[in-house]
Amino acid sequence: MTFVQFCFYLFSAILVFAAGMVVTIRNPVKSALFLVLAFFSAACIWITLEAEFLAIVLVLVYVGAVMVLFLFVVMMLDIDLAVMRAGFTRYLPVGSVIAVLLILEIALVMVSGFGSDSYQAPGAHPADYSNSKELGRLIYTVYVYPFEIAAVILLVAIVAAIALTMRRRPDSKYINPSEQIKVRREDRLRIVKMKSNPRAGAKAADGESS
């Protein structure tokens, strides 16, 4: 067994374990953390496939950004575990049917010509082969229209999500920051000249002490 094979089996074992824990563990925060571990192991497996650009982007986007926001939400939810587990037996038949269907579909694809006979394993690339350069070239030349359309769809989704969730609260005590910055001393502070009368104050103090 070569070192790469050893790595593959190690990361696959961690990935399968973590993925199993995501659905079986009871605490949602721990479940999200196991999902992070699963993403990370998947990225490690991609590196053994010489897809280092995709692997690093997987870590950067899913582990570094998406799961952070996910945890942010999950941590603040006060989830009642008893309610979550209540429907387990009721949903079990439906869930198992779907699981069996999925396994059957994957098996069909795998059996009908997906093995190493029909697809040659790609040879190892030379050391100076740049995965990211190759990917960039393909995306911006051969697949430029699908790529741009996907980008526009994502932009529409961003705009829609913000438009749906943004509500202006009339009772919000919001202050425009630029007005705050522009404020000068004269707007807030008024210096009042008062005639001082030290004798009267001193007399009063004397009267109290005596």
Partner: protein
């Protein structure tokens, strides 16, 4: 030469283990000096801020206080690590490790000089960005596992802040890779070949500023240290930590600061290159230039802490989303158009 000696001394072992030992030795050769720098960076911080505030700083342990960081480490090692009641023990103890590991692992691709790199990988810029983005897990997990409201508030603030500033940071790096035409940190430095006006800080000046501000925010340093916020949430995410568990968080923060300083030097200030490519400057070895520049940038972190008051939380968010990100977006367009459609292509490369 050292490599041959190591392989000769371990020639009775299988080859795989020999390679592993050699890799371990290289890791130690980077991490030991780094840990020394971190220890004396804490000392430098206390001394420099002391002098800025007209005090002398620590001066009791050893000559002029030079043994202070060692005394601090010894003290923290001997203290008890207290796990709060009903805290998640495993996550509580793994959180400091989660915050230190990315800070150290990112040094694997750091080009100290043109041949002194542990792993000269193709996408090292992305690798660094991915690892620095993972440091936030230490903070979040610590805040959640502590079973404390203050720690939890600190973790929430930190998560929101880091996600906001990471976007600005990523866009600033997009500008760097557009100008350099490479994702490899060594090639990025080699693209800045020449004197200091050839370095990328000049064509990418707004991105340089944005990157450094985001770096300060990513490391949770003043004036962006709302995750700690002593005055309102005690010490934020590490309020429940004591002894060595706390020390590891401390190490991670300082290692991250040095990392951000080194990355700023590599991407904008010419890495190991001398500021003027003439006689007295290029006698000094590249490693020393790298160290000098990194120290100067790291000094800025301390200067900021002694100078600026802490930002209000909503102003941090406003700065990140409404100032820094638009600036980077505009400058990416400027670089793209300047590089390909104007006669200033030489300036942007």
């Amino acid at each position: 030469m050292i490599r041959d000696t190591v392989f000769f001394l371990t020639s009775w072992l299988p080859e795989g283990i020999q390679i592993a030992i050699w890799a371990m030795l290289k890791i130690v050769a980077i991490l030991l000096p780094l840990m020394g720098c971190v220890a004396y960076f804490t000392f430098a911080e206390r001394k420099i801020i002391g002098y800025m505030q007209l005090r002398v700083g620590p001066n009791r342990v050893g000559p002029k206080g030079w043994l202070q960081p060692i005394a601090d480490a010894a003290k923290l090692l001997m203290k008890e690590v207290i796990v709060p009641s009903r805290a998640n023990r495993f996550l509580f103890l793994i959180a400091p490790v989660l915050s230190l590991t990315p800070a150290l692992a990112a040094w694997a691709v750091m080009p100290f000089t043109d041949h002194l790199i542990l792993a000269d990988i193709d996408a090292s810029l992305l690798y660094v960005l991915a690892l620095t983005s993972m440091g936030v897990y230490g903070v979040i997990v610590a805040g959640w596992a502590s079973n404390s409201k203050y720690a939890f508030l600190g973790a929430m603030r930190s998560a929101a802040q880091i996600v906001a500033y990471e976007i600005a940071m990523g866009f600033a790096l997009v500008g760097v890779l557009m100008v350099a035409g490479s994702l490899n940190l060594r090639e990025i430095v080699e693209g800045q070949d020449g004197s200091f006006w050839n370095w990328y800080w000049l064509p990418l000046f707004p991105l340089f500023i944005v990157y450094f501000i985001s770096g300060v925010a990513e490391t949770n340093r003043a004036p962006f240290d709302v995750a700690e916020g002593e005055s309102e949430i005690v010490a934020g995410f590490h309020v429940e930590y004591s002894g060595m568990a706390f020390a590891v968080f401390f190490l991670a923060e300082y290692a991250n600061m040095i990392l951000i300083a080194a990355l700023t030097v590599v991407m904008f200030l010419g890495g190991w290159l001398p500021p003027l490519d003439i006689a007295p400057f290029n006698w000094i070895p590249g490693l020393l230039w790298f160290g000098i520049k990194t120290s100067l940038v790291a000094f800025l972190f301390l200067w900021f802490r002694a100078t600026f008051p802490r930002y209000r939380y909503d102003q941090i968010m406003r700065l990140g989303w409404k100032v820094l990100i638009p600036v980077t977006l505009v400058w990416i367009f400027v670089v793209g158009i300047g590089k390909f459609y104007t006669p200033f292509a030489g300036f942007f490369s």
